[in-house]
């Protein structure tokens, strides 16, 4: 069965449960949605809504209990270890706390994914140098190649994270609360960079956030999530003007309060 070409990520009835000794927690409930090639797709919801689990299912950092997850046509739910490693090379991932390798320089951080061999073949050092310097220039960090991450600001660290995620020329970029640890100005800078990447490289971006204003700035479509379930998927405009689910209504109303267009006493 051939998948329609324009869907880069597809979820079909995906469930994920976390079990501890005495409790079970259904983190993702019956998730069904698809992300189109080249779009910036937002998943918004409160903390604990299951967003992080959902995004981790896409590159197999979490394994689904049931359902189907297609990434670029590969069903990643029944891939073996080797297959999963290969699929992950096509999926960039940036993190809230950057997760840079502190023992390596900025240069070595970005170079690291290029040094991973596929079927015993590794990129030549000359080619690696070329790719890394291009990437550092692209994210505006060419002067920081020999710095260690701990001497960088938060925004710079995330730029390194982005350069590292782009190194393998992925088809999808996943952003897990990528701007939540940054101040508002830096957040906007990083969002601009993501938008530029989407525009210039045609890269599909899936980002999760609890801040609906981020979604408004860069996402074409938004999934609102609460209690492990996707409540509605719409364009930002539609969700903002006519939220249908309780979760969306609550998010929009909180956004208005913070924005100042709705006043309440706190």
């Amino acid at each position: 069965m051939k998948k329609p070409k324009n869907n880069i990520v597809e979820f079909k009835n995906v469930n994920k449960e976390f079990k501890t000794k005495n409790s079970k927690h259904l983190a993702v409930k019956n998730a069904t949605f698809s992300v189109k090639q080249g779009e910036i797709f937002g998943i918004v919801g409160r903390s604990g809504a299951g967003k992080s689990t959902l995004i981790r299912l896409i590159n197999g950092l979490e394994k689904a209990d049931s359902g189907k997850i297609l990434v670029d046509g590969h069903n990643i739910t029944n891939l073996n270890y080797k297959g999963l490693k290969n699929v992950r090379r096509n999926i960039g991932f940036i993190f809230q706390h950057f997760n840079l390798f502190n023992s390596k320089t900025v240069y070595k951080n970005v170079e690291y994914p290029l040094k991973i061999s596929v079927n015993g073949v590794k990129m030549s050092p000359d080619n690696r140098r070329l790719v890394v310097s291009k990437l550092l220039e692209y994210v505006g960090l060419e002067k920081y190649a020999n710095f260690h991450p701990n001497s960088l600001s938060g925004g710079q660290k995330q730029r390194v994270g982005i350069a590292r995620a782009l190194a393998l020329n992925p088809k999808v970029l996943l952003a897990d609360e990528a701007t939540s640890a940054l101040d508002p100005e830096t957040t906007v800078e990083i969002l601009r960079l993501l938008k530029k990447i989407n525009r210039e490289l045609g890269l599909t971006i899936i980002l999760i956030t609890h801040t609906i204003s981020i979604v408004r700035l860069i996402c074409q479509r938004v999934a609102v999530m609460s209690e492990g379930q996707i409540q509605e998927i719409e364009t930002f405009k539609k969700i903002f003007s006519d939220p249908k689910s309780q979760a969306a209504k609550s998010l929009v109303s909180t956004f208005r309060i913070l924005e100042g267009t709705k006043t309440i006493d706190v």
Binding site: N59, K85, N99, L100, S103, K104, I116, N150, A167
Partner: protein, 228 residues
């Protein structure tokens, strides 16, 4: 009543070569033990850490067995362990007397102690960097060798300095099986001859060696920490 100590005559013509021999024996035992035991301990420590539940290779049963063995051997006083493994020493080294015979149990003990230090250091690595490495399609072994170990290098270096002191301690007991070294020297020429000067000389030399290694390790760890 302390007169006995000051009657001892020090014959430097005998003492000086014996001292140099003792120093070289100690350095020999310690460096072989640190090299072999340090390497085996590094390996065992990585296995311990990565087989922990939820870790890279998550093998709780393997972990429990290894942990049990390590915990079983570690609390045995070294001097008793030394005699307990005599048959194994004979089987592997060919003799249970001399410097090389002492090295065998030292390496085993050093492996056990090092494995625990390595495991404890690795536990402190931020899981986020492991996830980042996985997310790029890196294998578990690549993640271990190129991400996890480099990230914990500073505490590892300090851990090895700590181990070094333990090895010096063990090497002093080698004398009991004819292994020589500074411990043996102190007992033979100092303690048994009621000549504390000789004992103090060995103490001073041991202190110098230990301090040198500790300062060196501190220096390296500081260098490594500066970049982290």
């Amino acid at each position: 009543m302390f007169n006995i100590f000051w009657q001892a005559k020090t014959n430097w013509d005998i003492i000086t070569p014996a001292l140099f021999k003792a120093i070289s024996e100690t350095l020999y035992m310690v460096s072989i033990t640190l090299g072999l035991g340090g390497l085996c301990g590094m390996f065992l420590g990585c296995v311990l850490w990565s087989t922990r539940k939820g870790s890279l290779f998550s093998q709780p049963v393997v972990y429990k067995i290894l942990e049990f063995i390590v915990n079983l051997i570690r609390p045995i006083p070294f001097i008793i362990f030394l005699s307990a493994v005599q048959p194994a020493t004979i089987a592997i080294v060919g003799t249970s007397l001399g410097t090389n015979a002492a090295i065998f149990p030292m390496v085993i003990f050093c492996t056990m102690a090092t494995s625990r230090i390595v495991e404890q250091s690795l536990i402190n690595v931020d899981y986020g960097v492991i996830e980042a490495s996985f997310a790029m399609g890196a294998s578990r072994l690549k993640t271990l060798f190129e991400v996890v170990i480099p990230e914990v290098l500073p505490p590892l270096v300090l851990g090895y300095a700590f181990i070094f002191i333990g090895i010096m301690d063990m090497s002093a007991m080698a004398g009991t099986i004819g292994g020589g070294g500074l411990g043996d020297f102190a007992i033979q020429y100092g303690y048994n001859k009621f000549n504390p000067l000789i004992t103090w000389i060995s103490v001073a030399i041991i202190l110098v060696i230990v301090q040198f290694i500790q300062q060196f390790a501190n220096f390296i760890a500081k260098k490594l920490l500066a970049r982290n």
